[in-house]
Structure formats: structure tokens, C-alpha cells
């Protein structure tokens, strides 16, 4: 789980860096960060994050329908163990 959290934080930071977001905001990214409220991310940036994560983790938590999430912590939960990978292997 912590590995998934680090990957999600890493990809989020990549997107924010591309947008030129300041170092202070980047340093404060954590579980409580609400993507659209606390950062400059818009829906396209969020879509980019989801697509990057799908390519990297080979898993799409929305394959059976969209699930809402607001914070980074909530997004991490969607990738939690117990959810099945796209190739039917658990993430573990």
C-alpha cells in the first residue's frame, strides 16, 4: 500500500512540476490534499494522473464504473489490496 501511495504522490508531483507549481505546494502533497481544491490541477490534469497510474500500475480502478474521490488518500484507497488487477493478479 505504501508503495502505491508513493507512486501516486510521485506522479502527482510530476504533473504539478510540469504546470510550474511552486515548491511549497509540492512539498505539502499528502493524503489530505484535495486535488481540485488544494492544487492548480484541473480535470485534464486529473485525467492525466489516472492514465499515468493505469499505465504504470497496469490497473484501472474505474473499469467497472467511475468511483468518486476528492483527496489523494481516497485515490490511494481505490488502489488498495483486494482490488483485482486488470490481468487478474491482485496488486499485493
Amino acid at each position: 500500500m505504501t508503495q502505491i501511495r508513493s507512486i501516486i504522490i510521485e506522479e502527482t508531483i510530476n504533473i504539478l512540476k510540469d504546470k510550474g507549481v511552486d515548491q511549497q505546494t509540492i512539498a505539502s502533497i499528502g493524503d489530505e490534499t484535495a486535488f481540485l481544491r488544494d492544487t492548480d490541477m484541473d480535470s485534464l490534469d486529473l485525467a492525466t494522473l489516472i492514465v499515468c497510474l493505469e499505465m504504470r500500475l497496469e490497473y484501472d480502478p474505474f473499469c467497472q464504473g467511475f468511483k468518486t474521490f476528492n483527496t489523494l488518500g481516497e485515490l490511494v484507497d481505490l488502489y488498495a489490496p483486494g482490488h483485482v488487477k486488470t490481468n487478474n493478479q491482485p496488486i499485493a
Binding site: L46, A47, T48, E54, F66
Partner: protein, 407 residues
């Protein structure tokens, strides 16, 4: 019978040379029903040539010609089953009919849904010699073509029949990868290539500076941009270069050989091969008697010409904004350091689609990415490729076209 060999031709398939003098070479002594391709379903009799059952060891074009002869002799259709899909459902209550005479069945390369089965008369496939006259090139019996299209596609059959009926030479390497094809072109000293722009660009990348000595280059199947036409003219100054617009439903509509992309506006004034051309909602529409074909190919007007800008299927919705994938791709490939690219849409639950790109670079990665990122800033956010991946080559579909929508 329309399929008759009058002149000897040569087929070089997987390196094996077949010198064929006449149609009698194809006639089989075996009974029709003993051929594995023969099918009889609900009183429909036809030959089902299933590509999915073939391997790279098979002489596919040779077998195709044999089956064509067999189908003609027995006056039944030959279906070129490119995808190996089930053609008819024996238990359905829907009436299913196919022609009860010799003709060729193709599966269209439609981008949505399952490919459709359509039938063409043999005579409509065997191109009139005048449209393939080789200006300023070698005499016909010296012509050696490389088959770059899928042998079961409309374009592939055109190339095959053109060479077979014209007494020319065809070099075929079915189940190729681009490197194999490029090497076959060199090895057999081909002088004619008919291919999609995407495939030709891939061949250029493999050939590098040592290009074969081509006399005829014909582009088709995708939009042919001015950049490729100009580059090709530069690399092959002695070649006759043209691009063809055709659809599987209508056949060839026009051949443009003035060295320019698009076509002259006045082309719309006259019927082309029997089809009237009009533009509705920016799309080309073809009409013949009561038959109307909405091609899905979009056009823009610029001075005295119309230019193809892409297929309507390649215009995707990104968070409410319409984005033309082909237009973005043309911009990307025009950047310094980018030799080829494929701009595609990746589905996602938030914005519907997200623009991504695979790029083949000819400059060091860091420098090329700087140029690309600078260019991205000039686009509106919805248009920007969000994931740009450097690749060694662009993956093409089995019909030689770029794949632009991915789940």
C-alpha cells in the same frame, strides 16, 4: 471468365520464386468440396479464406490466386476473411444471403464495430491499365512491386491483380514486420511501391540513407501530407509519385499526381469513376444513382484546393472540446527532432478522452522533449498530448494504418 492470365508474371513469396505462365497453373484437379476453404451454409456456397489460420510459411498470395480461379470456375464467391471472424450464424432467423456467383468478399477496416462483409465484382477490382500507366519509368515487364498492403484488403488485391494481370513481378512477404519488408525491397531490387503514408515513413526509417531505386510510388489509405510528398520527391527524384483516394465501398475515386497534397477544387465538378462528389458538414460524400456513401473523411478548403484533414472517427471529445488527432499529429511530426509520431486518444472516466502521443525521435531525447514541450504550450489544454512516449517505431494496424483510439 474475367480472371485470366494472358501474360506470364512472377511472384516472389517469402523468397520463393513462382514463374506463372497462364491461368492453367492455378486449376486444381481436386473436387471443390475437398478444399478446406469450401463452405456450404444454409444453401450458400462460398470459399472462406481464413487469414487467422495461416502462418508465415504459407504462400498466401499463391493460394489466393488458386482460390480465385477455383471460385470463378465454380461460380461462387471467394471471401477474404482477414480477421478470421465468424461470417454467418446458422441458427439466426435473419435472412442471410450472399451473391450466388463469382465475386470477391472483403471485410471493411471499419473503426467501430465488427468489420462488415462487402462484395465486389472481379472486373471492378482489376484496374484499367490507363490509371496505372508508368510515366517516365521502366517498361512494364521490368516492373517489380513490393506488396505493402494486407493481401486481403481492397488495396492489397488491387496491387496483386495489377501485377498478375499486367505480367509484372510481385514481391510478397506476408506477415511482415517493417524491417523484413524494407530488406525484401533491397534484396529483390523492387522499383514500385504502393503503401500507406505511415508504412512508407516506417520503410524510410529502416532504409536510412540507402534507399532502393524506386520508379513508382503510390500512396493510399490515409491522408497524404505535403511534407511526405515533398520528402519523397527529394529522396526519389526519378520516381513517379501519386496519391490515391479510394474507399472499399466505392473503389478508386481519384488519383492525384501533381505532387501536391489534397486535390484541385474543380475535381468536384465532374463525376469521378461514376461517383459524384459533394461536401456536407465538412465531410466528403459520394453519390452514384441512389447510393450515397458518407465517407467520414473531412476536408478543408484552401485557395484552389481541398485538403483532407482526417477522419471524423479521429476527432475525439476531450472534456467537452473536440480535438482532431490527425491535425495535432501533423503539427507534432513537423517539429524539429521528431521523425514520426502517432497521436492517439486514451479513454478515461474523467474527461472521456486524453490525448497521448508516441514519438520517434531523430534528435537526443532531452533536446527533442524541450521542443515538444514548447510546442505543447501553444495548444489549448484539451489538445495537448499529456503523455508523450519515445518509441523506436510506430505500431501500425494490419492494414498499415496508425492506431488512434485505445481503450
Amino acid at each position: 471468365m474475367p480472371f485470366v492470365i494472358h501474360q506470364a508474371f512472377t511472384l516472389i513469396e517469402n523468397g520463393h520464386v513462382f514463374d506463372v505462365a497462364n491461368t492453367a497453373s492455378f486449376v486444381s484437379t481436386k473436387k471443390l468440396t475437398t478444399h478446406s476453404e469450401y463452405c456450404a451454409v444454409n444453401h450458400m456456397k462460398y470459399l472462406n479464406f481464413d487469414y487467422s489460420k495461416l502462418t508465415s510459411d504459407d504462400s498466401i498470395v499463391m493460394r489466393l490466386l488458386q482460390l480465385m480461379s477455383l471460385a470463378q470456375f465454380n461460380n461462387i464467391p471467394l471471401i477474404l476473411n482477414r480477421t478470421g471472424q465468424r461470417l454467418f450464424c446458422p441458427n439466426t432467423t435473419e435472412p442471410q444471403t450472399i451473391p450466388q456467383h463469382f465475386c470477391i468478399g472483403f471485410l471493411t477496416s471499419g473503426t467501430t464495430g465488427q468489420p462488415k462483409l462487402i462484395f465486389k465484382q472481379f472486373e471492378s477490382l482489376a484496374q484499367k491499365k490507363s490509371t496505372h500507366t508508368h510515366h517516365r519509368t521502366k517498361r512494364r515487364y521490368d516492373s517489380k512491386w513490393l506488396l505493402c498492403y494486407h493481401p486481403f484488403s481492397f488495396a492489397g488485391i488491387q496491387v496483386i491483380l495489377h501485377t498478375v494481370l499486367g505480367g509484372e513481378t510481385l514481391v510478397s512477404q506476408p506477415m511482415y514486420n517493417v524491417t523484413d519488408l524494407a530488406l525484401a525491397a533491397d534484396r529483390h531490387a523492387v522499383n514500385g511501391i504502393s503503401a500507406t503514408p505511415s508504412l512508407f515513413k516506417s520503410l524510410l526509417l529502416v532504409w536510412g540513407k540507402s534507399t532502393p531505386d524506386l520508379s513508382v510510388i503510390t500512396f493510399g489509405g490515409e491522408v497524404c501530407g505535403q511534407d511526405l510528398l515533398s520528402l519523397t520527391a527529394q529522396l526519389f527524384p526519378n520516381a513517379s509519385i501519386r496519391h490515391i483516394y479510394a474507399t472499399t465501398e466505392t473503389g478508386v475515386i481519384m488519383t492525384v499526381d501533381d505532387g501536391l497534397a489534397g486535390f484541385a477544387k474543380n475535381t468536384l465538378d465532374d463525376a469521378q469513376n461514376g461517383w459524384g462528389l459533394t461536401i456536407e458538414n465538412e465531410q466528403l460524400v459520394l453519390t452514384k444513382d441512389t447510393c450515397v456513401v458518407k465517407t467520414g473523411d473531412m476536408l478543408i478548403e484552401n485557395q484552389a484546393r481541398y485538403y483532407f484533414v482526417g477522419r471524423i472517427d479521429n476527432v475525439v471529445n476531450v472534456g467537452g472540446e473536440k480535438v482532431n488527432l490527425e491535425a495535432i499529429e501533423r503539427q507534432l511530426t513537423s517539429l524539429q527532432g521528431v521523425s514520426d509520431a502517432c497521436v492517439y486518444a486514451k479513454a478515461n472516466p474523467i474527461t472521456g478522452n486524453l490525448i497521448c502521443a508516441d514519438v520517434v525521435l531523430c534528435d537526443p531525447l532531452e533536446h527533442a522533449m524541450l521542443v515538444i514541450n514548447e510546442w505543447k504550450r501553444s495548444l489549448i489544454p484539451a489538445q495537448r498530448p499529456r503523455i508523450v512516449k519515445p518509441v523506436d517505431f510506430i505500431q501500425l494496424s494490419d492494414t498499415g494504418k496508425k492506431i488512434r483510439t485505445r481503450a
